[in-house]
């Protein structure tokens, strides 16, 4: 697994009679920004859940940061930061208290936690609202806070599951800028999205998932040129005969 931040081999996940992940194999390099694209229900979140130890695979194997996710889940959890799809923050805590809680759950020392909290709240534009209860935040503010909770401990590998869904354009571009900065810092990032323009803007490589299968893998530019189309949206249409957002 040398050189790979994430290695997935023949991964399968069945939920009763539904195959959510169907024999997927892929490798994400250290420092790479990898996009998992596909419509809702394609299996993107299930792959993320398996990689962060929330769901056990039916078969196949997966490793994160050199650790087997089934044998050493705690080692994996120390390396990763996950921005889950739900806007999950404690409504009765202030933005600052939410951040401190998750910093403490990652065993951060007090000084480092304070420094990173101040820096991340500033970068996400939440400094002035940091002492307000999260229940008073708008949807976009909660999403940005959720992103801070995922990254407060400065993880080597970040899983961002639809981080910009339901965000206004201004907030979305702020998050894009932040993700680009993370990449510059050398973080490995796995981004799931069904916004094709987001993937084109940010990702080094993308994997297109449909009905649990990996149907295309490569850089956005390569996939567009190979399929002789204008953008990733058209790539998806050419491969599946459907628009990616029809099922959204």
């Amino acid at each position: 697994m040398t050189g790979s931040a994430i290695l997935i081999e023949n991964l399968v996940k069945n939920f009763e009679d539904v195959t959510a992940v169907d024999d997927i194999s892929l490798r994400v390099a250290k420092g790479e920004l990898f996009g998992l694209l596909g419509p809702n229900g394609a299996g993107k979140t299930t792959i993320i859940n398996i990689l962060c130890g929330l769901t056990k695979p039916t078969s196949g194997s997966a490793g994160v940061g050199g650790y087997d996710i089934q044998k050493e889940p705690m080692k994996v959890k120390e390396l990763i930061g996950v921005c889950i799809q739900e806007t999950a923050v404690y409504p009765y805590l202030t933005g600052e208290e939410n951040v401190d809680l998750f910093g403490n759950l990652h065993s951060m020392n007090k000084e480092l936690l304070r420094t990173r909290r101040v820096m991340l709240l500033e970068r996400m534009g939440l400094t002035t609202d940091a002492k307000r209860k999260a229940e008073k935040y708008s949807g976009g503010m909660k999403r940005r806070l959720s992103l801070i909770l995922a990254l407060i401990h400065d993880p080597l590998i970040a899983f961002l599951d639809e981080p910009t869904v339901a965000m206004d354009p201004q907030s979305r571009h702020a998050v894009w800028d932040f993700i680009k900065e993370l990449k510059k810092e050398g973080k490995t990032i796995v981004l799931t999205t069904h916004y094709m323009e987001e993937a084109e803007e940010l990702c080094d490589r993308v994997g297109i998932i449909d009905h649990g299968k990996l149907i295309a893998l490569g850089s956005p530019r390569d996939l567009i040129s190979q399929n002789q189309v204008k953008n990733l949206e058209d790539v998806f249409i050419k491969l599946t005969g459907r628009k990616i957002r029809e099922e959204v």
Binding site: L54, K77, E78, I80, P91, L105, S107
Partner: protein, 385 residues
């Protein structure tokens, strides 16, 4: 286990308790309202006894001694009963059925004759003219049915001028109960059960909290961190033990203000708080079991009553009023042993080291830890995020 994580989660839980209105109500306001309401109803608050209105239909034809008047005056002097004179039984029964009075008493026509026969020949029962005082009670009032007959019986015994332990009198009181009237108010008897009563609702709070965290994704978020299940459960158990302690203190202050002043020392109070801490463990356990079964926080609220109601009805002060079979069933719920131990300590004056209290403590310890363990196992195995 990292204490930094445990403390952070406890801190979060405490902030939730203080900041969430619904939680705050269940923990602090509910015990205050509940103790005040029950305390007032059962004669707490400055030791005032309730006053029961008794309708009297006097058919006594009297003779040289108007014994019925002596009887009515004596009833009035108890300051617990307030005699209301009725011309006929029908009017009195009508008021009884409307709840305007708590009892109707028919003084028989030969009441004075009966009284005089006893005074003439107190040691010759065969020569007494026996008579029966008939009593109709408000069946909608548990307290009235239990409290009024023995008071009247005592007054009857007193007016005739015989010692309490006299073998017999010419008067017979129908519907007389065996309940003994004691100096403390009814509130004193229910006070120990109030500690248990308030704490039982922790089951609902725990199950709701876990189910809500699952619904809003927080459970998922915490499981992604390196926090272990042990750290999480320990933090929850400790949080709810602190809450139970605060709740017990609130209940204690309230029942103290309402007039409950048991003659026991500080060690007994401390021991009572230890019992409540143990009891909180079983409530966390039941809460975990409920949250594991429930699919949503709404369902958790409903399902929690599967554990709340048996504990309420079989194991608190309510249980004392139930049938003997229900009281036997009470022995299968932890709250029964808590109430029993607290009653032994506060009312019966038992020592902490007395066999009854120690047996209750042992039973509570084993059962509460076992319930918590079952809750943790089910949560770890079947709780879906």
């Amino acid at each position: 286990m990292q204490f930094q994580r445990v403390i952070a989660l406890i801190n979060k839980e405490m902030k939730k308790t203080v900041r969430e209105p619904a939680v705050l109500f269940m923990i602090f306001l509910f015990p205050i309202v509940f103790v005040f309401a029950f305390g007032s109803a059962f004669g707490g608050g400055g030791g005032n006894q309730p006053i029961y209105s008794v309708g009297i239909v006097n058919t006594d034809q009297g003779n040289s001694v108007n014994a019925s008047q002596i009887f009515i005056t004596a009833l009035s002097n108890t300051r617990i009963l307030s005699p209301q004179i009725y011309a006929n039984n029908q009017t009195a029964q009508n008021d009884l059925s409307q709840g305007r009075i708590q009892a109707v008493m028919i003084i028989p026509r030969d009441f004075s004759k009966s009284f005089a026969s006893y005074k003439t020949e107190p040691n010759e029962p065969d020569r007494w003219i026996n008579s029966t005082v008939t009593l109709y009670l408000d069946k909608g009032s548990l307290v009235a049915t239990q409290a009024i007959p023995p008071i009247i019986q005592q007054v009857l015994t007193a007016i005739i001028g015989v010692p309490q332990q006299a073998p017999s009198t010419p008067f017979r009181l129908e519907t007389a109960s065996l309940v003994e009237v004691k100096a403390p108010s009814a509130f004193d008897f229910i006070a120990p059960g109030m500690f248990t009563f308030a704490s039982i609702f922790l089951i609902m709070m725990v199950s709701q909290s876990f189910a809500q965290d699952r619904e809003n994704g927080m459970m998922k978020r915490i499981r992604i961190t390196p926090t272990t299940s042990t750290e999480f459960i320990v933090s929850q158990a400790l949080s709810y033990m602190v809450i139970a302690l605060i709740q017990a203190a609130v209940v204690f202050i309230m029942i103290y203000l309402m007039g409950f002043r048991p003659a026991v020392g500080i060690p007994v109070y401390l021991f009572a708080f230890v019992l409540m801490l143990l009891f909180s463990l079983s409530n966390v356990g039941f809460g975990l079991i409920t949250a594991t079964i429930a699919r949503s926080s709404g369902a958790a609220t409903g399902l929690s009553f599967l554990f709340v109601l048996p504990q309420l009805f079989l194991g608190t002060f309510v249980g004392a009023s139930l049938s003997s079979s229900a009281q036997i069933a009470g022995r299968f719920v932890p709250s029964y042993y808590i109430t029993d131990a607290l009653t032994s300590l506060f009312l019966r004056g038992a020592a902490i080291t007395s066999p009854t209290v120690l047996l209750d403590l042992a039973t509570v310890s084993v059962s509460c830890i076992a319930i918590l363990a079952i809750g943790i196992i089910l949560y770890a195995k079947y709780f879906k995020i």
